[in-house]
Amino acid sequence: MNTKLVPTPGQTVGPFYGYALPFEKDNELLAPGSPGSIRLQGTVYDGAGHTVPDAILEIWQPDAKGNVVQRTGSLVRDGYTFTGWGRGAVGNSGVFTFTTVNPGPTKPGAAPFISVALFARGLTNRLFTRIYLPEDAEALAKDPLLSSLDPERRKTLIARRDPDGGLTWDIRLQGEGETVFLDFQ
């Protein structure tokens, strides 16, 4: 029998993470231009529709075959090892960019997605969400989370495929088109 402990509360990341959390190649899960690599890009908006210049995201995803990778080396990238995890601060225009791969389905028929943790000044606790690939309509229709959402909200979790093969996915913290954020507890 386990005794449940009460979790420690979160707090805002604040404005001054810029010299602490970012590191070299933090947003390059693969070297840009390497075979199979894609660009994942988006913009973070606040409730007034303004871009948020002080947010930082983390993505965590399976590899292209749907394997969950458990390799170290994310903080000191060797240029070859795909660890599945990356961190990217937005620029002054609120835009974040990652170089990664399209995640594969972790089991047959599952809709592939990238897990996201979002931190920002003014955001009192981290938010979780998901970025689904747009292609497999059948898998998306069967996905337990997506099918629990009404169509307007569901759209906020599905990335757009760009002509160059990249993915675009924006975050709206509040208001019209507000991104669906997740509670796992």
């Binding site: 979160g10 604040g14 394997n67 994310s74 660890t83 931190f119 981290r126 979780f128 509040q174």
Partner: protein, 295 residues
């Protein structure tokens, strides 16, 4: 990492040379006072106390919607968080190891040529999951202001001195028992512009990973007895006193080292886990030599 810090200090990210009182301009007459903010903070606190009396469950996390923290007003979701059962990738956590973090990165007082100014402290504790099990071999990152309350960051305009011997960032990998230990300098309080005469209580930012990505958390550790607690809208985003107390370290004389540094203890409890025991066994122990999991 020390080389990286030196590079960082020489980069444009560094604040410009000290301009005494540059940020200490006359303030807008219309700016809100601490009394205005304290009235809002107290009203929310009283409403929460009444809700508890009426049978509400204690709140254990900060409120996303907490208007006294003005920057949160346009940055909190207005819709309820959507309940989701975590799926495969979310039930695992990225792996970090000694390739990622050098042992010396846990000592924030040896990153430059000289000793930083201020009160040398040791901050030590354990990272545990919700069942009290140690989170072993995981990444802990910290950052903080120097002893004068100044961050090495271009957006920090507080006219307090930069310490050329203190950057204020550290990392470590937890031990087999979930333990972490940092040697650092006690950070100073600093002013911010939420309202007139707003001051943050001294704190250290902590970033933590668990064994599942759903446990990911960034938070702040505070020091016992800080007189700024009742006045600070960020600390007060947590409306429950027991929950707030979980962010306050304990002075621990057994951690204090003679003729060297004062010791503080702070344990961190993550949510969950959500993964079942069978999956945990199949997964094994994450660490330096780990391989791929899943299909």
């Amino acid at each position: 990492m020390p080389e990286d810090i030196t590079a960082e200090l020489e980069s444009e990210e560094l604040v410009p040379p000290a301009e005494p009182k540059a940020a200490h301009q006359p303030l807008d007459k219309a700016i809100e006072s601490q009394a205005d903010l304290s009235a809002e903070i107290n009203a929310i606190g009283e409403a929460y106390q009444q809700a508890l009396k009426d049978g509400a469950q204690p709140e254990t996390q900060p409120r996303l919607d907490y208007p006294p923290y003005r920057s949160s007003i346009l940055r909190h979701p207005t819709k309820s968080l959507q309940h989701a059962d975590p799926e495969t990738i979310e039930l695992y956590s990225p792996a970090f190891g000694h390739q990622d973090v050098h042992a010396l990165e846990s000592d924030l007082t040896i990153q430059h040529n000289g000793e930083p100014l201020g009160e040398r402290i040791i901050v030590s504790g354990k990272v545990l999951d919700g069942e009290g099990r140690p989170v072993a071999g995981q990444l802990v990152e910290i950052w903080q202001a120097n002893s004068s309350g100044r961050y090495i960051h271009k957006r920090d305009q507080h006219p307090a001195p930069i310490d050329p011997n203190f950057t204020g960032i550290g990392r470590c990998i937890t031990g087999p028992d979930g333990s972490y230990r940092f040697v650092t300098i006690k950070p100073g309080a600093y002013p911010w512009k939420n309202h007139l005469n707003a001051w943050r209580p001294a704190h250290i930012h902590f970033s933590l990973f668990g064994t599942e990505f759903t446990q990911r958390i960034i938070t702040q550790m505070y020091f016992p007895g800080d007189q700024l607690f009742p006045l600070d809208p960020i600390y007060q985003t947590i409306v429950d006193q027991d929950a707030r107390d979980r962010l306050v370290a304990t002075y621990d004389h057994s951690l204090t080292e003679p003729e060297w540094a004062l010791g503080y203890n702070w344990d961190i409890v993550l949510t969950g886990p959500k993964r079942t025991w069978t999956e945990n066994e199949a997964f094994g122990t994450a660490g330096d030599s780990s391989d791929e999991a899943g299909e």
